[in-house]
Amino acid sequence: MNNRETSHNVKERKEIFKTSSGIEIKQFYTHSDSEQFLTEDSSAPGEFPYTRGIQPAMYRSRYWTMRQYAGFATAEESNRRYKYLLEQGQTGLSIAFDLPTQIGYDSDHPLAEGEVGKVGVAVDSLEDMETLLAGLPLDQVSISMTINSPAPILLAMYIAVAKKQGIPLTEISGTIQNDILKEYIARGTYIFPIAESMRLITDIFQYCSENVPKWNTISVSGYHIREAGANAVQEIAFTLANGIAYVEAAIASGLDVDDFAPRLSFFFNAHNDLFEEVAKFRAARRMWAMIMRDRFHAKNPKSLMLRFHTQTAGCTLTAQQPENNVVRVAMQALAAVLGGTQSLHTNSRDEALALPSEEAARIALRTQQILAYESGITETVDPLAGSYYIESLTDEIEAKAMQYIENIDDMGGAQKAIEKNYMQNEIQDSAYQYQIEIERKDRIVVGVNQFQMEEQAAGGLTYVDPEVETKQKQRLAFLKNRRDAGKVTKTLEALRTASGTNENLMPYMIDAVESYATIGEICSVLREEFGEYKQSVSL
């Protein structure tokens, strides 16, 4: 019996109903639509392939980590914001760095002009990192750093601060994003060519597996791929394909899969289509477990578990009637929690207008707290399991994403696919399609292409004082005058020499940051030795 016969000739709103990924949605679902669930995967939460969650009790034992991404202006101001957020009940920190830091330029570099302290905090040297982390209990709060190309340098600084605070490296836990492949695909803060970047990443895997065992060495990110325009299927397909590339690179460098795989983590987007998003998270967990077991023969159950952070979708926020964004964020956060996220960032309602204000950031955190403490969705694990629709979507997303991964394998893997602009072009096509749908009103965005109204300009927006740039440059100049220049040169030259060998560069990075060499100086040595990535764009 198909849906047409059961519809009693009722005229429906649309010819075809589809998810954001183009999966056709039926009028209703029955048990015959969720075959894989019924026959192949009857796992419980905490059991392979972890479709229902990586832990048996999930939020019944502990809520997700409420981790709001924050950072702006100077290290001092950001440090104050972190302490405020912890006082407000936030349970983890997430550091946003400004663009010069993320691209390996000091605040006094000509390309840094106008960007210092804007989208995150400016960190030039260990001195800034000491200020940024001052008074934060590094052995109690887990800190996530959104840093990619210069990830080994920021990790080295974190290690240096921990050493100064007398905390053993075996006790510190935190995350670096360290996912360079999605920078080439979608986010844009690359520095070095792909092969050299992959070497830095595997150096980190190896160094941490021996010295900083609780560190999350990478956060393989679909978030930015989705923000750039990908649909749900493309988001997990490209992310897992990148994950495969990292595992292959680490194994090729001589590591055993179970030595580093338990420390891999992921980062996904929570978009508008509630059920598709929940199914996406479930499909991603199942796929990664299968990939790690069957493709890489991982033995440690922790190597098979896809742990992930989620952020609500910034690209869905509207500048029009921005208060409505509070509702969008709440629904997206609901999807993340129903999907079993380990940590969550909820966006502030004013993000299509400016940097988040303190009030907007607080409401965003409160949204998570309401979901956790008031909604009841945390009281049982994976509450949507067994829904014919959810299980069917989970299977379909898995099948479609697997097809993409096979295509990428056929091209020779994620690195090769990126060089051919494959993912970039797929994402651009989806982004353009999405825009056309909005303009044709095939897709309604409340307040943007329907239900508009006359509005006054929003007030209370956050501005970063241009003085921040001047002050940061002064601090940097002062540091350069004070430090032991001979030691800086010596450690930088040692790094240069090691970069031409197979040696792990992490110890050299730590020496360099401890001599107060700056990010710009360290990256400049590596730029000279490794060269720089050149983007090629085909529209």
Partner: protein
């Protein structure tokens, strides 16, 4: 015969958010214009150089990192210095309403904020770049 309108779409500064810039570039191309997309990390000097070399009619600037107040007016200033102020400049991105008057005063012809349709950008360019 008139040649098509030539547009340079540029990502200024270190910002990597290029979804909007690429969507606009493609929409303008589909509307019959010749589009040169610069890719990421352009300085104002670069952008002006490209626009002059390519004999562009207009330049579209994109920034979502908050550097617009610093970088957009630099483009119009350099265009004036090089006697190329006939090239029309417009901008887009996450730009707070209160910054817009200053940007318009500096010679930017229009600022498009989130939610703008590609159709309205196309219309604006066609009306402003009548040759």
């Amino acid at each position: 015969m008139d040649r098509p309108i030539r547009v340079v779409i540029a990502k200024l500064g270190l910002d990597g958010h290029d979804r909007g810039a690429k969507v606009i570039a493609r929409a303008l191309r589909d509307a019959g214009m010749e589009v040169i997309y610069t890719g990421l990390r352009q300085t104002p000097e670069n952008v002006v150089e490209i626009a002059i070399q390519e004999d562009a009619d207009c330049i579209g600037l994109s920034s979502l990192s908050g550097a617009h107040n610093h970088l957009f007016p630099k483009v119009t200033r350099i265009l004036r210095e090089r006697q190329a102020e006939d090239i029309l400049v417009f901008g887009g991105g996450v730009i707070p309403e209160m910054d817009i008057p200053m940007l318009l005063d500096s010679g930017i012809a229009a600022i498009f904020t989130p939610g703008t349709t590609t159709e309205s950008v196309i219309r604006f360019i066609k009306e402003s770049c009548k040759r």
